[in-house]
């Protein structure tokens, strides 16, 4: 049994993406900057891919810059907005407490440079309110950056409404849409988005490629010096096979976005219902306003890494926000941001679906999670103290 439930980490490449890429590794291998016909054929593929990606986002091709992935796109968007802002003496940025580290660490860097950062609370349901953004905007705010959907708990943010508030206040609005692209409908114009980051490997495209949408007129700051690729905003020979693969993957994902969302939502809700039967467990993030493929639970009295290892033994690939899996001493900042205390956050489990998952896999997983949680609790001194009444349950 091999059940892959870690699609928020990365996805399997689609056949369409692989097939689209192959010619660009084999026959069309020219450098798009070269004048000869081999180079020009690659250049055509680059232009065509840019068009195809722009179409899926509702923007113009010139508004797309290819990057090495979501992290680079996030970095470039934020740094660019900060440079635009500081020229006008605006050095205040608004974001949320549970952004991806690509955003949070970039903001930390700017804070050291003298920017002021406001991180909005995301409440227990993991959703920021547009009013919070409106209340936080100041005269010197140069950027609002709020993720489209959270990578750990999958909660979907009110992007259009936040974008509207930013428009009204003349503040740039960036959204990290790495988890949303290819899974939720995006229209940057309709949703008032000025900048948006995406990453191909989250929607069955190749790794190491992403894109930054920046509205016409938003001047990007290059992070990598070198040649004049990407209109001088991102040096380095373009990764043509990956770019072509990303375009194919995004097109395919968007073509049946509603069908796959419907299918995944049904599996997700069954998974949530099944796992909820485990006593003293809690779903993290809003039950409905979440990505169709995201399930995230905390279980009291156990630790997440041992849970993952035992699930792996049963053929299930999952993820956790425990400190042991994060490589730091603290558990997931996302779980802490929604008010889960350390003791509880260590016992978290994230299961993220793709449309390839089956009903059968979901039933098997529910049983496996129940078994493993019960076993780990049976050897846990914390659980013993809770059951004996020596300590009080935190998750009722």
């Amino acid at each position: 049994m091999h059940i892959y439930l870690d699609n928020a980490a990365t996805t399997k490449m689609s056949k369409a993406a692989i097939e689209a890429m192959l010619p660009y590794m084999d026959t069309v291998y020219g450098n798009p900057s070269s004048l000869h016909s081999a180079g020009q054929r690659a250049n055509e593929a680059l232009a065509e891919s840019r068009e195809r990606i722009a179409k899926q986002l509702g923007c113009d091709a010139q508004e797309i810059t290819f990057t090495s992935g979501g992290s680079e796109a996030d970095n470039q968007a934020i740094i660019s907005a900060a440079r635009i802002g500081e020229k006008k003496g605006k050095k205040h940025i608004i974001s949320t407490a549970f952004e991806h580290h690509a955003v949070l660490h970039t903001l930390n860097k700017l804070e050291k440079e003298g920017f002021e950062i406001t991180l909005l609370d995301v409440h227990e349901n993991g959703i920021v309110l547009p009013e919070q953004v409106a209340n936080a905007i100041r005269e010197d705010t140069c950027l609002v950056t709020v993720m489209y959907a959270n990578n750990e708990i999958g909660t979907i943010q009110p992007i259009k409404e936040i974008g509207q508030i930013c428009r009204e206040n003349g503040v740039l609005f960036h959204t990290d849409a790495v988890q949303a692209a290819g899974h939720l409908r995006i229209d940057v114009k309709e949703q008032n988005i000025d900048m948006l980051s995406l990453s191909a490997h989250k929607f069955h495209g190749p790794k190491g490629i992403g894109a930054l949408y920046a509205k016409k007129g938003v001047r990007l700051t290059g992070l990598i010096e070198g040649g004049a690729q990407e209109r001088g905003k991102r040096a380095g020979t373009e990764n043509i096979p990956a770019i072509v693969g990303m375009a194919a993957a995004l097109e395919e994902a968007c073509a049946h976005i509603d069908n796959s969302a419907r299918k995944m939502t049904a599996l997700r809700d069954r998974l949530i219902a099944g796992i909820s039967e485990i006593p003293h467990s809690v779903l993290n993030g809003d039950a409905k306003k979440r990505l169709p493929g995201n399930v995230n639970f905390c279980f009291e009295g156990i630790e997440g890494e041992s849970l993952l290892l035992l699930l792996d033994d049963k053929g299930i690939c999952a993820s956790s926000g425990s400190a042991c899996t994060s490589g730091s001493l603290d558990p997931s900042h996302v779980l802490l941001a929604i008010g889960r205390i350390h003791d509880i956050a260590h016992g978290s489990l994230r299961l993220t679906l793709s449309e390839e998952n089956t009903q059968e896999e979901i039933e098997y997983t529910i049983n496996a999670v129940k078994e493993v949680v019960a076993y780990l609790r049976s050897i846990s001194p914390v659980w013993r103290d809770l059951v004996s009444g020596k300590k009080e349950f935190i998750i009722k």
């Binding site: 997440g304 890494e305 041992s306 425990s322 042991c324 050897i379 846990s380």
Partner: protein, 144 residues
């Protein structure tokens, strides 16, 4: 997973000496839930020999494996020998631990020391206090 040695995975998957000793002569509990690991060791001691040992652990794979291995290393041994158990011996017996998991072996050493100290205290046995560290936890997250 290549994160851990086969020995670690074996002790994690099939932990030895899991459980509770109801009439234990010494009990030691170290770590805290905030850090994500707690170990509890129960000792049965007769004529200065550890005749039985059980453990309960809340923690990651290496925490469970470290507790299991530590209990194996002291079972049937005289108390004086158990006191000399080091985290290094636990790590070696497990064929190594990743650097960021070494604290789990420290926790195992400290859990056993805490249980032995409890045994001494309960029985009014004199001992050298310097043998036992002040910090009841592993120390790795005291600053949290």
């Amino acid at each position: 997973m290549a994160l851990y040695s086969d020995k670690v995975m074996d002790h994690f998957r099939n932990p030895r000496n899991v459980g509770v000793i109801e009439d234990a002569d010494g009990i030691g509990e170290v770590g805290n839930a905030k850090c994500g690991d707690i170990m509890k060791i129960y000792l049965k001691i007769e004529n200065d020999i550890i005749v039985d040992v059980k453990f309960e652990t809340f923690g990651c794979g290496s925490a469970i494996a470290s507790s299991s291995m530590a209990t194996e290393l002291i079972k049937g041994k005289p108390v004086s020998q158990a006191l000399e158990l080091t985290n290094k011996a636990v790590v070696e017996a497990l064929d190594g631990l990743p650097a960021h998991k070494l604290h789990c072996s420290v926790l195992a050493e400290e859990a056993i020391k805490a249980a032995l100290k409890d045994y001494y205290d309960k029985n009014g046995i004199e001992y050298d206090h310097s043998q036992f560290p002040d910090c009841e936890s592993c120390g790795h997250c005291c600053e949290v």
